[in-house]
Amino acid sequence: MSIDLSQFHQVFFEESYEGLDIMESALLNLDPANVDAETINQIFRAAHSIKGGSGTFGFSQVAEFTHVVETLLDQIRGGERELTANFVELFLEAVDCIRRMMNQLEAKEPCDIPEAATIRKNFEDILAGKDTGGGSPSPATIADEAKADAAPSGWKIYFKPGEDIMRTGNDPLRMFRELASHGPLTVSVVVDDLPSISGIDPEKSYLRWNLELLANVDKSAVDEAFEWVVDESEIVIEPLGGAEQAIAATEAVSPAQPATPVQPAAQPESAKPAVADLPAQTNTQTTAPAVTPAVVSAEKASAPPATESKSAKVDKSKVEVSSIRVGIDKVDSLINMVGELVITQSMLGELGRDFTMDKLPKLLEGLDQLSQNTRELQESVMRIRMLPISFTFSRFPRLVHDLSRTMGKKIELKMIGENTELDKTVMERIGDPLVHLVRNSLDHGIEKPEDRIKAGKPETGVITLNAYHQGGNIIIKVQDDGAGLNRDRIREKAIANRLIAETDKLADEQIYDLIFRPGFSTAEKITDISGRGVGMDVVRRNIQELNGSVEVESDPGVGSSFTIRLPLTLAILDGQLVRVGEHVYILPLISIVESLQSFKGMIHRVAGGCDVLRLRNEYVPIIRLWKIFNIEPEYRDLDDALLVVVEGDNMKVAILVDDLLAQQQVVIKSLEENYRRVEGVSGATILGDGTVSLILDISGLIKLAGVRRDEYKRVKNDSGRAA
């Protein structure tokens, strides 16, 4: 199967730029002194998406580069490493580097960034542990060491940076900030070396500093802050005269500190406060007279206050709704249509000013034109929002092809329901979760060929993507015939990650549900395909943001299946209007099998059960809409009745209606928004005359009518015997 992936390159670039922007702003908001787990997660997810996307499109340089970045981020996220200001700088450099790579790729130039190798080397050094500059041990270890050494209560530091410190991208402010993360810091600047104003080179540094850090930390922690400038600067670090209460205070507080990075799940969902807050915060820390360490540390331990995270959350949701990507040609065509509409309107206005009966044909012609303009306008507006899901699906064959080759697995990808229409905004945001799910199925689900043969399964594994409308929802299923989820391993892992207690008794579904928790992964080794445990938490979050849900079913040895359910709130539906009494309802056209006029002999009454319609060699249960909806119909007689045969929930039913009216496209409006869910109704719409009409939900009707599947099957079997 060959699909031209280049048509999606633009989308990928745009998404990646967005991701880079997210990383950048999150990095800038990040305060190394007070690491917010959610922000780290945010950066990590953005990096992960860029890596995944570039892998999909075969931009291996970007993918490899981002992989290194991501690995370090993952370690910080997992609490294995502490974030330092240096890391933030390095990450920002990496972001710039990735952005330049993207620029080159977008311009179809060969990807060649000289710094890339250097930056990558830096990351690799850190990961390999060569660089103590960033690679400080975890906070817990610091606390232990501090206790063991009973180090002096603070440090006196003399720091004279080299003149060129600014040129190399090292900002003393960041170093001080990092120092301040250990405890109260007093900074005094020596300006003796400043030349006269005419002699100043603005790019050089002439300042010297005397610093006093009141914190019971190792000398290495202080060294660390100056790690990057130690060669070019003059640095003297001396212990400060001991004050014993400080030691006690640090001991009391330090065990609380690791809590922040280690438990991302417990963190409130929050973005960091605005950038403007940062300098202010640091200022107070550096200039204020040294408060007793206990107070400061205690404040820090309780750092993310509830109110702050709340306001940040509001900001975030505001940003989310703001943009939808539309091709400029579509906008142009809309403008053209509006132009035509204006012309028609002025023509009609002219006509109306001095209308005489002989101008009637012209008026009718104008009205015709108006209705045509309106229809075209409506269609193109709809077209902007609605796209077949194949747009998202078509990037998977390549992904599956490439990944299955690198993993040495044989996998066939089946796609069903590619023409199911989906709102564009929904689609854009379902893409990444789907990629994660497919990657997961590939990586964890499908076994290696030899294992499959051993298990008595065909060598080639099958991943099925299936999209369809059901009731008021769009269902997207990602199914594989692999090994299924490993219940015991998930449990072990969850206990190891302290997601659950060892004593917790959980049902299978609850255990499977654990895979959607942040920071969960069962992969034995980290591959660059999946297995970082980021996927599932992103998947659920993205889907929940769309008011949808995701569920997992698994059968050991048979396979697993992820079901994404998204509401149709914004979607459009082809509807068949039907009338019962004075009420007009809408049946989704897609669910209608056929409509027919019944005659005597087609209808059978099953004793104690429902009435059935004999449709060729099948018996179809009959649902009387008036009966289940408690309304007054025009016809009750089943002989000579109008029946619409519909399919829902994998079964057919015949619905008794009074009349079939027009077919039309309807915009689905939510009933739940202002009212509540109504059984048998998936939503409402507004008809041409301004009245509200309800859209019927077939599976809901079946439930409401009490037609049970087993009953249906029995009838079906009977019919089989009869035939």
Partner: protein, 183 residues
């Protein structure tokens, strides 16, 4: 005809007042309306607009007091008949019958709903200190919606808590009485 247009004028005037309504710590403005010869008031800040009655689309198997849903400029809005909600007799809908569109703060955000009342009256300011708490009537579920009693020129106005009234799950009282008719 003249009567209808007078109603329209009243509605226009009240809508104007609603859009300008304010409240502070001491005073609260209430929109008052009539039902069964009693005057009721609801906090004007929860009122979005007033419109004349028009037929709504029935919702299947809804409680009797839910008259259906209406299209309010593209939003589907459920309509509740307040008389039926309070267990009073249903009144004939006339030219005077109005729908007060209110914003209800439910658990999952603000919902827009319409309530059908006999007629709208006026907008009144009450000093919070003048509002009396309602007498406790143990066995009447409706009194839980009453926040207090206010006085205007010796006339009593019953002040309602619209949020509690429209979000309360109280279907059973009505729906249980409606048995499905068999054919």
């Amino acid at each position: 005809m003249s009567k209808t247009s007078k109603i329209d004028d009243t509605i226009d005037m009240l809508n104007q007042e609603i859009s300008e309504a304010t409240s502070d710590e001491e005073y609260c403005q209430f929109l008052t309306f009539y039902m069964d010869n009693e005057e009721y008031g609801i906090d004007i800040l929860s009122v979005q607009e007033i419109r004349g009655w028009e037929a709504a689309t029935a919702i299947p198997n809804a409680p009797g007091y839910v008259k259906g849903v209406l299209n309010l400029r593209g939003t589907v809005v459920p309509i509740v008949d307040l008389r039926l909600r309070f267990g009073m007799n249903q009144a004939e809908y006339s030219a005077l019958t109005v729908v007060i569109v209110v914003n209800v703060h439910a658990e999952n955000g603000v919902k827009v709903m319409g309530i059908v009342v006999d007629a709208v009256s006026d907008v009144h300011s009450f000093a919070l200190s003048d509002i009396q708490s309602s007498p406790e009537l143990a066995d009447n579920r409706n009194t839980s919606f009453v926040t207090g009693l206010g006085n205007i020129n010796d006339k009593m106005v019953i002040l309602l808590d619209i949020n509690a009234m429209l979000t309360a799950q109280d279907d059973a009282d009505f729906s249980s009485l409606r048995s499905r008719s068999d054919d």
